[in-house]
């Protein structure tokens, strides 16, 4: 199971990084989204894996539970990355509408006058 999770994290990270390095905004957004999935699972896995041990306290005292703290951290991280993604989407839309171009790299504009100085 651990291998599956680790390889899933790795795959999503690889996919995310690859897309993040693309030249248009949309794939970059997708890449960052993939990366945030990957990192959320990564963070979650830092509490180690366990099955059927949800950290919901039961009335029977001897139950054991999975580590709740990473879960709480991941929740926070998910929410934050949601906000960030939303902002990213909007800014990329704004940049596209302003520039009529969704390339993410900015070619420096050098005028003749600039070259002269």
């Amino acid at each position: 199971m651990e291998l599956l999770v680790a390889s899933a994290i790795g795959t999503m990270t690889a996919g995310g990084v690859y897309l993040m390095l693309r030249l248009r905004t949309f794939p970059v957004i997708l890449g960052l989204a993939l990366l945030s999935y990957a990192v959320n699972v990564f963070l979650f896995s830092s509490g180690r894996l366990s099955i059927d041990m949800s950290p919901i306290l039961s009335k029977y005292g001897d139950a054991s539970y999975s580590d709740p703290l990473p879960q709480a951290l991941v929740l926070t991280a998910i929410v934050i990355s949601f906000g960030m993604t939303a902002v990213l989407v909007m800014i990329s839309l704004g940049a596209y509408l302003e520039a009529d171009n969704d390339e993410i790299d900015i070619e420096p504009e050098i005028t003749d006058e600039d070259s002269a100085t």
Partner: protein
């Protein structure tokens, strides 16, 4: 021997305080500003004079206050003979320059600015010569560079002024920075930055392995400032400054700072071969070369500038000799050079002022038209030439005397011969100054009709030439001053006797050769000038300009190649750095033995894994089809959520799936306005590169997680599990952590969401106010569309589904503290419920029916969460301390009330408000792009059908 002198603070401070006044007197005339400039100078000079007797007796005046003890920097001044001599020169000449400039500058120039800069410069110079702390000295040193930059660039509209100023700043600034290094090393060796301590530590310093670096660095500072070869080239270009500036900077002050420093450091640094060969040689070369160039300069000020370079070389050479006699000669020549050179600059200024030219070739015959100027100029020039009865002769003789018995690398003749040549050239250009300007026939083509200037303009040089003659005739009057200064330089108790006649010495013959040879050379000037002009020689300014231009273009190329706006490359570098450094870090340590047994892999879970991996791969491969990629992302989200369920994280599953849905909604909304496909522009090489980087990152992260998942560790969360119910009042530990143990994180998190909402709203407004609005209006987004906007079935279904979804949201909110759920998921569920309604009947239609201010909702959310936290202050508890109780009401089962739920309500409202505000913003954009708002909830209500009968169309 040491006396405390608190006046030193006042003396040092006066010019700076005084500098404020002229700068503020923008409207005042020249007289007023000049007066206010002269006053602090004069007061400082008077205060200085009160110490003169004591200093000349050999006492050292000291004053110190702490400034930055952590650094060893204190505001400490000391005044010994050398300091006194220089301080007098700086203030005295400063006064004369103030007077001279009053008449020299025109009323149109910003005179206030000029005097401010002048006083700043004066203060900086004064600081250098009386600092007892070398760090303080460095401060003043850099200040001279800065203030001279302003002075040289005073006529800012002239390119020469700007370039000269920049060049001076670059060269002297570079030297200053080198000197910082050298001084810090000195201080390090001596264990103190106090000059008096350092001067005691000469032996230790010379013995240190750091002596050479320190020496070179400090000399770099001195040589650049004093325009020694090969750094001499900035000085002539500084002549673009108004003449008073040149007279001040290049006779008495700025360029002498380097000489002063060498003199100051003489007891510490001199006496080694390195010192002799570096300093004396540099001085010698500079002297000869400066003089040679001066001879062929037609610009009066340029001639004087190179003569200054030459004389500075002379001084440097003398200090480089390292003997006490040479030091005495140097000190004496400093005085003499000051007097005649300042007078000469002022004379040149007068000529320029009156004739409107400084070009020697256009001058001549002025002795009849400007007799006073002629007299002053001639006396000063004769002194410069080293003609007896003028002070220049005396110190030149001493110099030649020292040179005559100085050997250089085994040669007995090198130094004397070159020194004589230097003197000879000096005579030649001095005579040229006299003869080519004042003698010869009166011309009728001067750019302006020359006559002697008003008294105010010639008073200052006149005073100086009086000194030239007085010292020249009665050298003993300078005895005390020279003795005291020279003693200070050498650290020995010297008592030199200055006299005109030294007997028949080698120096006398060398002097005679120089005068005769110089006169002959001047006669040959015309042919020699032609040769000079034809000869190829390196033009220092050109070299410097090319150097700077080269540096600029190189740095520009580096900068623009590295910061080329390609974020994709920045990110690649970032990723590579992370992977590499992470790998390096990992390799540097070991791993404990694995302690956990791996969990089994059920087949269905393996299927989930396949879904996730295949979907990820497909997103990468198919990302050019943007919509398709979004569908595939849906699979990934679904797989992860299911995985969370399987791996005991129900809260995560709920959050993940709802966040993902809302995210996809936003992406779809944005994609509507974006291109629907991504062009395939990446080259195979780029893809390969990115593939390798991505693979490495994936491998690294995967391996890392695999490494820790195999190893157990004790964590702090056992506390959370143990205290969640007792202390936090909830059985859902994750939720209790979120709203209680780490409620502060959650507080930050909802603020992030609130800001996101605000930001998106602000961004939308900015877009609609800007050029985007035009683009939105002009683009047709409605191609190939279905004609039914608000299909009947969807509208009707939503009428039932939306209330149910709202109820589910409420349910999830209420139970979150004890079961999976909570404010955040509830907020999203409610948002999704509303989204259903929007998708059915449109945002605007829905919005029009229920005016909910989403701004307000976010605000309330944040405020409720914040105030819930603040509320605990009332009970003397820290922020976000929770309280809970179980309530029993008749007929109803026991239920819990917790402040944490109020906090969660804040979370709920913020989430809901933020998502809605985002949707609202996107919907605004869409309406701007030409969407119309429907008036009915559905496209057509069949109840309105007129004819119900079937009728073929």
């Amino acid at each position: 021997m040491e006396t405390t002198g608190n006046f030193l603070f006042i003396i040092a401070l006066l010019p700076f305080v005084g500098a404020l006044i002229p700068g503020l007197m923008i409207r005042a005339g020249r007289n007023a500003t000049a007066t206010f400039t002269a006053m602090p100078t004069a007061v400082a000079l008077i205060l200085l004079m009160t110490y003169a007797p004591a200093v000349l007796r050999g006492e050292v005046i000291q004053a110190e206050v702490a400034w930055l003890p952590q650094l060893g920097l204190s505001v400490s001044f000391f005044l010994d003979g050398l300091g006194l001599l220089f301080a007098c020169m700086i203030l005295g000449v400063g006064l004369l320059i103030t007077l001279y400039a009053r008449y020299y500058l025109s009323g149109e120039d910003p005179v206030g600015q000029f005097y401010t800069y002048l006083l700043l410069f004066q203060g900086a110079m004064l600081g250098i010569v009386i600092s007892d702390n070398i760090l303080l000295l460095l401060i003043f040193w850099e200040l001279t560079s800065l203030s001279s930059f302003l002075l040289i660039g005073y006529w800012k509209h002239l390119p020469e002024g700007r370039q000269g100023a920049r060049m001076a700043l670059a060269v002297t600034g570079a030297g200053g920075l080198a000197m910082i290094g050298g001084m810090l090393i000195l201080g390090n060796i001596a264990g103190s930055y106090n000059l008096t301590d350092i001067l005691q530590a000469g032996d230790a310093i010379r013995a240190s392995e750091w002596y050479m670096p320190a020496l070179i660095l400090i000399l770099l500072g001195a040589f650049t400032k004093s325009a020694q070869f090969p750094f001499h080239f900035w000085l002539p270009h500084a002549m673009a400054a108004p003449t008073p500036v040149s007279a001040y900077l290049h006779s008495a002050t700025m360029v002498k700072a380097g000489v002063f420093l060498m003199a100051r450091m003489w007891p510490v640094l001199s006496g080694t071969d390195a010192w002799f060969y570096i300093v004396a040689t540099t001085g010698l070369i500079t002297m000869v070369m400066g003089a040679l160039i001066a001879l062929f300069k037609d610009d009066l000020k340029a001639l004087l500038a190179f003569s200054t370079v030459s004389h500075l070389g002379l001084l440097t050479m003398l200090l480089g000799f390292g003997t006490e006699a040479a030091a005495v000669a140097a000190v004496f020549h400093i005085i003499n050079h000051l007097t005649f050179k300042a007078a000469l600059f002022m004379t040149a200024g007068i000529v320029d002022h009156e004739t409107h030219t400084r070009d020697i070739k256009r001058l001549g015959g002025l002795r009849h038209l400007m007799p006073i100027t002629f007299l002053i100029g001639t006396i000063a020039a004769l002194s410069m030439a080293g003609i007896p009865l003028f002070n220049g002769f005396l110190s030149k003789e001493m110099m030649l005397e020292e040179a005559s018995h100085t050997g250089w690398a085994g040669s007995q003749y090198a130094v004397p011969v070159l020194a004589t040549i230097g003197a000879l050239l000096s005579v030649a250009y001095s005579f040229r100054f006299i003869f080519h300007v004042f003698f010869g026939p009166v011309r009728d083509d001067y750019p302006a009709k020359p006559h002697d200037p008003p008294f105010g303009l010639w008073a200052a040089p006149a005073l100086l030439v009086v000194l030239v003659v007085l010292i020249g005739v009665m050298p003993f009057i300078a005895d005390t001053v020279v003795a005291s200064a020279a003693s200070a330089v050498t650290g020995a108790d010297l008592d030199p006797h200055l006299k005109i006649w030294h007997g028949v010495t080698p120096a006398l013959f060398m002097s005679i050769i120089a005068v005769v040879g110089g006169a002959l050379l001047l006669m040959l000037h015309r042919p020699l000038d032609r040769v000079w002009r034809a000869a190829p020689r390196p033009e220092a300014k050109e070299i410097f300009d090319n150097l700077v231009a080269g540096c600029v273009s190189l740095t520009r190329r580096i900068t623009e190649a590295t910061h080329n706006g390609a974020i994709s490359r920045y990110l690649a570098i970032f990723t590579v750095a992370s992977v590499l450094l992470g790998g390096v870090a990992f390799m540097g340590g070991g791993l404990a033995e694995p302690t956990r047994e791996l969990l089994p892999i059920p087949a269905v879970i393996a299927v989930g894994w396949v879904m996730l991996v295949v979907a990820t791969g497909c997103v990468v491969v198919m990302h050019h089809h943007r919509f398709r990629a979004l569908v595939l992302i849906g699979i990934i989200g679904l797989s992860i959520s299911s995985g969370f369920v399987y791996l005991s994280a129900p809260d995560l599953a709920l959050t993940q799936i709802s966040v993902e849905t809302v995210t996809i909604m936003l992406l779809l909304l944005a994609l509507h306005f974006l291109p629907k496909t991504t062009p395939k522009v990446s080259s195979t090489g780029l893809k390969l590169r990115d593939g390798i980087i991505a693979g490495a990152a994936g491998l690294g992260v995967g391996a890392l997680s695999f490494a820790f998942m195999q190893r157990d560790i004790s964590t702090i969360s056992s506390y959370h599990l143990a205290n969640s119910y007792e202390g936090g009042g909830g059985t859902n530990v994750v939720n209790v952590i979120l709203v209680d143990f780490r409620g502060y994180d959650t507080f930050g998190e909802i603020i992030v969401l609130g800001i996101a909402g605000l930001l998106i709203y602000a961004l939308m407004q900015a877009l609609l106010d800007g050029t985007s609005a035009q683009r939105l209006r002009n683009t047709d987004y409605s191609q190939d569309r279905s004609k039914d906007r608000h299909p009947l079935m969807m509208v009707v279904a939503t009428r039932v589904l939306m209330p149910i979804a709202l109820l589910v949201g409420t349910f999830i909110f209420l139970r979150g503290h004890n079961q999976p759920g909570g404010g955040f998921v509830a907020g999203l569920v409610v948002a999704i419920a509303l989204l259903m309604q929007y998708m059915a009947s449109g945002f605007a239609w829905t919005q029009a029916r229920q005016r909910i201010e989403y701004h307000t909702m976010i605000g309330f959310g944040v405020l409720i969460a914040g105030l819930t936290g603040v509320g605990s202050w009332v009970f003397g508890k820290p922020f976000l301390t929770s309280a809970f109780t179980y309530v029993h009401l008749p007929l109803i089962e026991e239920f819990e009330l917790a402040t944490a739920m109020l906090f969660d309500l804040g979370v709920f409202l913020t989430v809901l408000g933020a998502v809605m505000l985002m949707l609202y913003s996107l919907s605004r954009i869409a309406r701007y792009a030409g969407e119309t708002v429907n008036v009915e909830p559905m496209d057509y209500d069949p109840a309105n059908r007129v004819d119900n009968g079937p009728e073929a169309r």
